[in-house]
Structures are given as C-alpha cells and as structure tokens.
C-alpha cells in the first residue's frame, strides 16, 4: 500500500460517482475499485463510505437495487442516475479548473510575478 491521503468529503462524493459510473457496484466494491484505479494511492476510511453512499442516494445522484454478491450474500448495488452523471461531469470540470489553477500557481517563478 502506498502513502494514504486523507480525503475531504466533496472529493469523496466525486470519487464514488466516478467509481459507480464505470458499472454497478456494491459498497465494498466501490471501495476496491477506487483503490484499484488510483493504484492504492487513495484509501477511503470504511466508516465514511456508507454515510456518503446514503447521502448521494438521498440527493438522487445514485440509485440502488438489492442483489446477490459474489460470495452469495445479499448486497445493495448502486448505479449512476442521469442527474448523477450530470453532477459527475460538472464536478470533474470544476476539479480540472481548480487543479489547473493550482498547478500554474505552483509553477510560478519569481520573474513571472
């Protein structure tokens, strides 16, 4: 496991939305997928996951259905809704703008000021 970074709630929402956009997942599956895609750089504390999932469902960005998990247990599978997809696009755009701004700030050299 690489270095773990503490993540703010807003970013957590975005990550969950992204993870789910790639295909229906249950809670543990979301955790694994995020870990997998970020190549272990991002670790979500397990206790924060479900409150975030419930919040996102309450806001209508994801929806859930009951199904059976790989090890034959009852699990809730989450999928992205249309509004959720829109929200993910918007937040991705915001994040890009923000990261560009910070990047250019950090690249500034004394003679550019």
């Amino acid at each position: 496991m690489g270095k773990q970074v503490d993540i703010l709630q807003g970013m957590l929402d975005m990550m969950i939305l992204k993870a789910v956009s790639l295909g229906p997942l249950h809670g543990y599956g979301v955790l694994l997928r995020i870990q997998q895609i970020s190549k272990d750089a991002l670790q979500i504390p397990q206790g924060s996951l479900y409150p975030a999932l419930y919040r996102l469902e309450h806001k209508g960005w994801i929806e859930s259905t009951w199904g059976e998990s790989e090890n034959k247990r009852k699990a809730k599978y989450y999928t992205l809704t249309a509004t959720g997809r829109k929200q993910l696009r918007a937040e991705t755009a915001e994040w890009s703008k923000l990261s560009d701004a910070i990047a250019s700030l950090l690249k500034a050299t004394p003679d550019e000021v």
Binding site: H26, Y28, Q46, Y54
Partner: protein, 864 residues
Amino acid sequence: MHHEMASHMAAYADDLIARGVPPDEAHRRARVEFGPLEEVREECRESVGLRWPFVLARDLRYAARILRKSPAFTFTALLTLALCIGLNTAIFSVVDSMLLRQLPYPDPGRLVAIETHQQSTGEDYRGFAVTGRTLEELRGASAFEIAAFSGISAGINLVNGAHVESVSAQRVTAGYFHVLRVAPAIGREFTPTEDVRGGAAVTVLSHRLWMRLFNGDRSAVGRPVNLKGEPYTIVGVMPAGFHPPDPVDLWAPLRPSRSGEGGGTNYDVVGRLRPGATLAQADAQVALVAVDAQKSGEFDKGTKIEMHALPLQREFTKNIRTPLLVLWAAVVVVLIIGCVNIAALLLVRGAARAREIGTRMALGSGKSAVVRQLLCETVLLAFVGGAIGIVLGELGLKVLKMLAGRSVDLTDVALDGRVLLISACASILTGLIFGLVPALQTSRVDIRTALLDGGSRGIAGGGRNWIRRCLVVTEVALGLVLLVVAGLLVRTFLYLHGLNPGFDGSNVLTAGISLQDARYKTAQRVNRFFDDTLDRVRQMPGVQVAGAGLTLPYEQPLNIGFKRMDGPHPDAQGAVTNLTYITPGFFEALHARLVRGRLLADADRKETEPVAMVNEAFVREYLRDQDPIDSHISTSNANRRIVGIIGDFPQANGYGSYGPLSPAPGVFVPVSQVSDGFLQLVHVWFAPRLVIRTNGRSNANIAGVAEAVRSADPLMPVASFAAMDDVISRYMSDERFQAELLGALAALAMLLAAVGIYGLIANTVVERTRELGVRMALGSTSWQALRSVALPGVILALVGVAAGCALARACVGFVSHLVYGVRPTDPSTFVIAALALLLTAAIASLLPALRVTRLNPADTLRAE
C-alpha cells in the same frame, strides 16, 4: 442497512482470509476497521435527515428517567397541571354551556326581548314584562315583528274523557310561533280573531301531550279537549323536537287587553328583527315606546321608565348571569395561580440542575441539544399532566352535576373541548417559558463556574430568589381574594338557610290544585270546594290539622295595593304589599306563631265583617304609630279590620329591594271574603295549596289527599305534592350551589398556594443545607435553624395576605348583587380568610423546615 454492512464486512473478511489471515482474526479486523456499527448507522441516518425520531425517542426516555428520579417535583407538577387543566375545564364547561346555551329556535340571534327599567323613590326594578297598552305600542315598531306570551306558565286542569290531568300551559298571542319560526307539525297556530276577548277557545298541543292523550292520532286536530272546565278545540300540534327553555304541555291564546291582566306588567314579549333591521334600530324604537309609556299614566307619578331591546338570550340567563360570571372569574384566578405554581416549580428545578447542565455541556453536548432535552421534559410533563387532567375533569363534572341536583339543569354539559385546549395551552405555555429559562440561562453560564460552584449549595443566593418570592406573594394574594368572595357567598347561603322560618315545616304536606277553571268562577263555588275537600282531609287518619292558602311561605305571593283607613296617617295614595288568601287551619297546620289577636276562623264568612291578618313586618312598616288590632285597611275590594298579627316568615319578593328571601310586609285575608273577580284573576297566576300537617307517613297521606280531592270534585287533578321542607330548600338551592362551587374553588386556590409555599421552603432547605450545617455545628439549636428557614414563608404569606386584602376590597363590589344578609365589606370575612390562609402557609412552611431538625451537622459538612 444491517444486511448491507454485514455483507460488506464479510466480503472484506473473505479478502483477508484469501491473503492468508486466519478466519477469526480476519473477521475481527474487518469489524474493527469498519468502525463502530452504531455510529456509522447514526451517521447514515443523519445524512439522510432521518435521525430525528431516534433522537426524540432518546430524549423522551431520558426525560422520563429524570422525572422519575425527582418524584416530589414530578408529582407536584403533575398534580398542579391536572388540577388546572381538568377541574378548571369542568367548571368552565358548566359556566359556558349555561351562559351561552343557544335558544332552540332557527336563527336565534335575531330574536330580541324587551327589558323595562322602572325607577322611583326607593325602588329600582328591572323586568321583561310590559302592560297591554305598551304591547300595542310595540306592535307599531317597524324594526321587528312581535308576539307576547304569559310569563307565568301555571298548571291547569285538563279533562279528556276519563283522563284527568294537571298540565302546564302557556298563553301566547297569534303569531308567536311565526316569530319563533317554528310551525306546528299538524294543523295551525292561533289567528288574530281567536286572540281577542270572546274569541274561539282553541289550543295547540305539544308533541308529548298529543302522544300521551291521543297516541299520535292525527285526527285529534279538530277534536275538543276540556281545559279549565271548558271545551277547547285542538287546532294544531307542535313538532317533536320543539323544546322551549321551560317545559310546556299546551298553548292557549293570550287575548291581551289594556285592563285586568293587561293593566299591569304581565305580558312578556319576544320579537324578531325584520330582515335588514339591526338591534340598535330596534333599541331606538323601543326607547320611544318607553317615553310614551311614561306619559301614559299607567305608572305612578315620578316613576322613570326606560326600555331596551336586548338579545333574547339575555332574558333566559338573567338570573344566572352574575353568578356565572363570578364563577368564571374565580376559575381564571385558579388557573393563574396554577400557572404561577408551575412557573415557580420549574424555576427552582432549573436552578438546581445548573450543575447537571454544566456537566453535560462540558462533556460536549451542544446548547441546542440541552435546550431540546429540557423541552422534552416539559412537553412530557405537560402531556401526562394533561391526560390526568382530562380524567380529573370528567370526575369533577360528575361531582358538579351531583351538586347541582335539581336547581340547575346540567344534563347536556360535557367537557368543552375549546376550554380544555385553552387551559392546556395556558399551562403548557407557562411550562415552556419557565422550563426553558434555566436552559437558556445556563447555556450562557460559564461551565467552569457551574461545576465548581457545586450548583447552589453555598449560601442561598438572595438575588435569584426574588422572582420566586414574587410568585408566592401573587399566589397568596389571589388565593385570599377567592377566599373572601367564597366566604361572602357561603355566609349569604348560611344567612338564608338560617332565616327563622317562622313556622315548623316538618311533616307538612302540600298539594297544589288549579282553580283556573270555568266551574270555579264564583267565590261561592271556590269556598264550597275548599270546605268539602278540607272536611274530607281532616277525617283522614294520619292528618292532624289542615288548611289551604293561595301561596305558601317562602313563595312569591300576590302584590297588591292597599290604603290605611285610620290611624294618624290615613293614605290618600296607597302602597304595595304582599297579599294572600287563606282558610282557617292554614296557620295552625304550619304551627305559625300568633303574636297578638286571633287567627281567622270559620265564623268569618261572606256575610260577616271583612277582616284580615297582617304580619309583624307589616306592622313595623306601616302601623308603627297606631294599635294594629282593630285598625282598618282597604285592600282586595273591601275595607278590612285587622284582627290578628302573625309572626314573620321569609318570602320571595316580586317588588322592592328585599333580596331573594326576607320577611316582607304581608296581609292575609279569608278566602270566604274575597270577590269573584279577584279570585278569577289570581287563579290565573297562582295555584292554591292544601297545607296538611300529618303524622309523617307521606305515601299513604298522598294517596288519601288525592282521594279526598277526587271525592270533592272528580274532575280536579292534584297538580303536585311536595313536602314543605322541600319547598323551602328549593328557594335556596341557587345560593347553595354557588356557595359550594366557589367554596370548592377557593379551597383549590388555597391548596395550590400552600403547595407553592411548601415548594419554596423545601427548596430553601436543600439550598442552605450546608449553611445550616455550619450554623448548627457552631452552636445554633435546631429550633433556631428551623425558624430561620420557615419564617420567610410566613412573612411572604403575610405580605400576600395584605396585598390580597386590598385587592379583595376592590373586588367585592362586583359580587355585591349576590350577597345578602352580610355587608360585602364586613371585616370578619376578611379576617377569617386571612387567618385560614396564614395557618395554611404556616403549616406549609413548617413541614419542609422540619427536615432541618434531622440535619446532622457533621454529615452536611462532610458531604461536599
């Protein structure tokens, strides 16, 4: 949620197992890394906004626990709430339903009554009756249509074949039912041609009477029925749901005129405002009629007449309006006292819990959480208290109905929902306000101070207490006002009850008959009936003495004019006195006291000299300067010589300002010496009574008397039997009911005030435990400590009593109408009330203070 998280942890555990971790260890790590389940669940709920029912439930459970841990406070608060809400509502409901009871007619708000106010020297009279002349004037008013009825609904004799019965009849003008907008179910009401002297004899039956006589046979309309000895044709039957405020069996035409009955104020008027007219317009037109009445010469010179149009409701509540308003005010006062108590209780409790609240806030509870939790406590208290209150209220209502008995009709009174709501809201609001105050205060307080201070276990904080002291003083003052008013009403009742009856009513049976009958138009016939009947009655085995009279003692007799014919002040213009006719045996049966002279005897007949008896009050008022015996007065169509003086007995009076019962001047004439015309007139208004002194066995005697009457005249029913004692108590039942009710309220107020004082002193003891411990360790005796604790309670009560006396002094003016036999400002009432309250306060202060004597100084100093 549970399944989801369980399978999450299972999946994680499986992964760990796949990586080689032993299964037990894997499951443990999965649980630990997931985090505390309950917290996660809470957060899930919170994120969705679903947390509040759980929070609420938890707060309520905590509140219940806290309340259970301080049983004294909880019990007191619940009791106060229950009493305030429940009992208050019960009394409110009675008052409300009686004062605001809707008249059972369509659109009753448009119905008016006419009130006359007659003022002359020494007399102030308000009534709802007018003369025949005034009635005619009123018919001309454009603002309303008018009808009249006889205000006196006497029992009359009804004969239908073999069926003989005494029924209650009301005489009404044509158009009466039209004014009320209630049409007969069968047939019609009277026409104007029937409503004049000499008009056809017709009658309208009530539904109940029609069922009783004819069993619902519709062909009864058009058939004759024998009333008052004459045939009357039935022209209509009223619908089943028609129930006028006083029960009536049938109606007959009033036949108003300007003379005879119409010469005096004997017609009651009901009017209905025409569409578009207002009460103010009606009032203005009625005022003009009053001016005309004053000029008419029908009233004595110098009498001022004023007339007003009032809503009809006022006429039917005229006797009970003031007492009920007094009751209402008393109930409000009790409610205030109750709220004051609740406020004080909560303030005390708030101060005591400063420490607990400080601790909770130090442990991280936010201000809103503390406030919310205190709110829960108050609401829980309020609901439980309210529920108990409703139960108490129902109970109280039952007791009230029992107390009222026959004097007041309370059958349809139920706990009024509106009033319940108002009482509940008032109490709950008080609870909320005073329950939140400590929360809002202490959440600002420096937590550190609250914790270190140990709450208020130090020296009693004088400044903080002053609110509670004010509250106690207010309670005591209000309680005193109620006690004084109740005391006055109780004394009024006791005065009336204690009035010397002037006769012995035990074992005296009375039987009422109606001589308003075509067969009894002459004095000769009337006298023959009395002689026959009394002869038979006197021969009955259980009878000792018997007689008859037009009206009984205590009842309202006839008012009539008289003139003194000799003596130093013979009258050019006569005065008014009470008068009744009697037979020999009347006073003897009652064991009335003969003061001087002789009683009326059989020897006094039509042919012999006209005589009369008077009572002591008459002598005191009119014959002071002459020897009453052998003086002459002219009254009821004869110049009479006074032959005897009888002892006073209380009488209800229809004129003057004698109060509800008092020994007023009265004249007694023999029935053998009055004229035909006089008898015909008085028998319209009064039902004469046989007065029989028996050996006590009432049922046998009643049957015997009924038989005696039947033998003398088979067509004469006995209208009613009553024991003389019952007649007497009926005249005091109103005052008794009022005294009982207000007495109960005053006792309640006193109890609540005592509870308030008790609470204050008990709390002082707790607060000052440490201080008192120190004092006692330093040598103070238990008694000194006790005194220092209990004394403030008594002093506060003294201040309250003083304030209350001043307030009560101002308030007694409002109840002076209801108070008789005692001056409203009489000091002894105040003194007794003050002493009672002070005694209660002293006990309420001493009881909790006694705990001080059990204080062990060593313990208190140690406990810190």
